[in-house]
Symmetry: C2
Subunit: 148 residues, 2 copies
């Protein structure tokens, strides 16, 4: 929250009630929120906030590193708080939609190496593994596995 305040200040912007609410809701969340979920949660606290404000604020939060957005291939963006968190990647169940976060330092090291080998300087990365979670694997063996 202080990070947002600083960012806002530095750029001569204003700290509004809506920005505070959206930031609080997002930072208090611990998994992934899609836009609708965030919108609903924010409106429980402040019933007149519109989608435009959500989007505009999310952009701001992403700029100052408090949020990050992830497209999981289904067209709808999801956001997550970056507060107090390590970088992590995602395991996504293609049957039930479960999203599990994981961190793996060995992979990170290899990614850095790949970058170096190609002359790149890495600024970010994103890794998503799709598959069936333990539950879905057990529940429906003939289940459709689809990654689009």
């Amino acid at each position: 929250m202080e990070v947002l305040a600083a960012h806002v200040l530095r750029r001569g912007l204003r700290m509004t009630r809506q920005r505070k609410t959206i930031a609080e809701v997002l930072l208090a969340t611990d998994g992934h929120l899609n836009i609708d979920q965030l919108y609903q949660a924010v409106r429980q606290r402040d019933p007149n906030v519109g989608y435009a404000t959500i989007y505009r604020t999310l952009k701001l939060l992403t700029e100052c590193g408090l949020a990050s957005n992830a497209h999981f291939g289904d067209g709808a963006a999801r956001f997550e708080s970056m507060m107090h968190r390590h970088h992590h990647d995602h395991l996504i169940c293609t049957a039930c939609g479960l999203i599990v976060e994981f961190e793996n330092d060995d992979i990170e090291v290899l990614q850095e190496r790949v970058c170096r080998d190609h002359g790149f300087v890495m600024s970010a990365h994103k890794m998503e593994i799709y598959g069936l979670c333990a539950r879905c694997r057990g529940a429906a063996t003939g289940q459709r596995e689809h990654v689009d």
Copy 2:
């Protein structure tokens, strides 16, 4: 192409001129195509093909494993042929948009392990590393690095 024919046959569908053309164009391509590029290329051979057919055929090709689609975070899907190719991941330059493909077996192994540790059975994965390519790094040191 035989794969598509088989898929089509198996499902009682038809092998149309348009499907052939789209499959040929895609399979002959070696990098990434966005929908517009594919559309243009297909229409050079068959001027009346519409977007709907492109989308519908791409869905078919993805189902039978001949194509895969990748959202690189900018809202527009890109497709690539899966023919005769290893799985690979992507390095993306955030300044010039250059996309470099790479393969890294060590990372693949670690991904499998992560899956196993979480009880998942992996069906697919996607890894994108964002950064500055050698050229852009040299050209513009103050360049904005943005990953959305």
